[in-house]
Point group: C2
Chain length 225, copies 2
DNA sequence: CACTAAAAATGACATCGTGTCACTTTAAAG
DNA sequence: CTTTAAAGTGACACGATGTCATTTTTAGTG
C-alpha cells in the first residue's frame, strides 16, 4: 500500500503490472485496483466478488486466495487511507508550534485527502455497517483520532488556551463532525468543492476550542511564549 | 405510528393487541414491534425476515403481505423517528423568542429522543447504506433539517446575531455533527449518558454561531428587542 | 347456523451471491 | 526437462430472498 500513483479515474495501488514482483502480489494489487475503480463509480452495496474479478481476467474463486471476503478488501483500503491521513495530521498531533496555524494546515491537508478519496471513505463507512470485524477496525480508526485530539485539547487546556470542557467528549464530537462532513460532501460524485467545507470545519473547531476572536488569525507568539 | 406506549425493553408501536383494529393492522404492528425489539439487541446486519416473523408466530412468507422487504420496515421506523424529532424541534425552527434559550431547549429534547431511540437510529443509518430507496429517504430526512437550520441561521444573520458565513454548508456540518454524535454515543448499548453529549453539542453550536461569550447564557432581550 | 367471498397465511420453489473443495494448470528452480 | 509448490478453475452446497399456487381463516349475509 506504499507506492501510490495517480491514474484515471482514481489513485491506483500499482501503476502498471511490475515484473519485479511475484505473480501473487500482482493479482492482489489488481483486485485492490478493481475495488478502487468499482467504488469510484458504484456504491459498496453493489460490489460482488465477481465484479472485482472480471476486470482482472481471473476466475471468481481465485479471489479467496487473496482475501477472506469483500470486507477484508475494504479493510485493506482503510489501512491505506489511514496511512494517508496519519501522514498529514501527524504535525498537529505532535503539536510544537503555533496551535492554530498548525491546525489550519493539518485540516486543509486532511480535507484534501478525503476529497481525493471521498467515494472510498464512504464505501468503508457503508461496509463497516455490514461486518463485525470491519466495524471494529473502523471504530479503531476513529478512536485513534479521538485519542490524539483529546490529548491535544488537554495539552492546550493546561496552557490555558482552551477552556475547561470534557476533552474526550468534545474530541469524539468534532471527529464525527469532520468525517461525516467529508462523507456527505465528497462521498458521491459529483463531489462538493473542498474549500467551503474546510472553511466551515475550521470555523467550528477554532471558535469552539479557542474562541471566535481567533477566527482567521494565528494564535501568534503572544499567547504561546 | 401515532400511539406510542412505553414497554420493555423499548417503546413499542402497539401496547397490546387491540381487538378494535383489523387483523391486518395487528400483524403489521406486530412485525414493527419485532423489529424494534430485535434492533434493541442486535445490529441491522443480523436482521432477517425470519427473525422478525418468528416472534409473531406467523410464517416468513406472510411478511411480504405487509412489507416489500426489510428496508421498507426500516423506512417505517424512520418515519416514526422523524415525527418524534420534528415534534421536538419545531419550536426552534419557528423561532419566536430568545434564540439561544430556544436552541438549548430543542437540543435537550432532541438528545432525549435520540437517546431513547439510539439503537434504532443507528440501525436506520446502517440500513440506508444497503438500499437505494431507504438511502434517499434518509438523505431527505437530513435535508429537511439542513433546510430548517439554514433558514434559521440566515434569519439570525439578518439580525446581526450570527456572523457572515455560508449558512448552508454550516447547517450541513452541524447536523452531521449531531446525528453522528448521537449514533456514536447512543447507537449501541451500553449507551453513554446523554448530558455530556448535550453539553458538548451545545457548546459547539453556540460558540460557532453566536460566539463563545454566549456560552451558558441566554441572549436576553438586550440583543433581541 | 351455514355459506361464501375476500383476506390472510402457508409451503414449496427458483434465484442469487457466497465460500469451499478436489482437481488442473502454470511457472520457477534445479 | 523435470519437479514441486503456487496459482487458478469449475462444480457444489448453503442460506437468505422473493414469488406463487394453494389452503385456511375471517367476517359478512341470507
Amino acid at each position: 500500500m506504499s507506492f501510490l500513483v495517480k491514474n484515471s479515474p482514481c489513485f491506483q495501488v500499482l501503476p502498471q503490472p511490475s515484473l519485479r514482483i511475484g505473480k501473487s502480489e500482482r493479482t492482489r494489487a489488481a483486485i485492490l485496483n478493481s475495488a478502487l475503480d468499482f467504488l469510484w463509480a458504484h456504491p459498496f452495496r453493489d460490489m460482488t466478488v465477481q465484479s472485482l474479478m472480471t476486470p482482472t481476467g481471473v476466475s471468481r474463486s481465485a479471489f479467496y486466495r487473496y482475501f477472506k471476503d469483500l470486507h477484508e478488501v475494504m479493510e485493506a483500503l482503510l489501512s491505506m487511507l489511514n496511512e494517508e491521513a496519519l501522514a498529514v495530521t501527524g504535525p498537529w498531533f505532535e503539536g510544537t508550534g503555533d496551535p492554530i496555524a498548525l491546525f489550519n494546515e493539518s485540516l486543509a491537508a486532511v480535507v484534501e485527502v478525503c476529497y481525493r478519496r471521498g467515494p472510498i471513505l464512504r464505501a468503508i463507512d457503508d461496509a463497516a455497517a455490514t461486518d463485525n470485524r470491519l466495524e471494529k477496525v473502523w471504530a479503531q480508526f476513529f478512536r485513534q483520532f479521538d485519542d490524539a485530539v483529546t490529548l491535544r485539547i488537554e495539552a492546550e487546556q493546561s496552557q490555558g488556551l482552551v477552556p475547561n470542557l470534557d476533552a474526550r467528549t468534545m474530541a469524539i464530537a468534532l471527529n464525527r463532525l469532520n468525517v461525516y462532513s467529508y462523507i456527505e460532501a465528497f462521498g458521491q460524485r459529483p463531489r462538493s468543492k473542498p474549500e467551503p467545507v474546510c472553511e466551515a470545519l475550521n470555523r467550528i473547531w477554532i471558535s469552539t476550542l479557542y474562541g471566535s476572536e481567533w477566527l482567521g488569525k494565528e494564535s501568534s507568539n503572544l499567547v504561546r511564549t
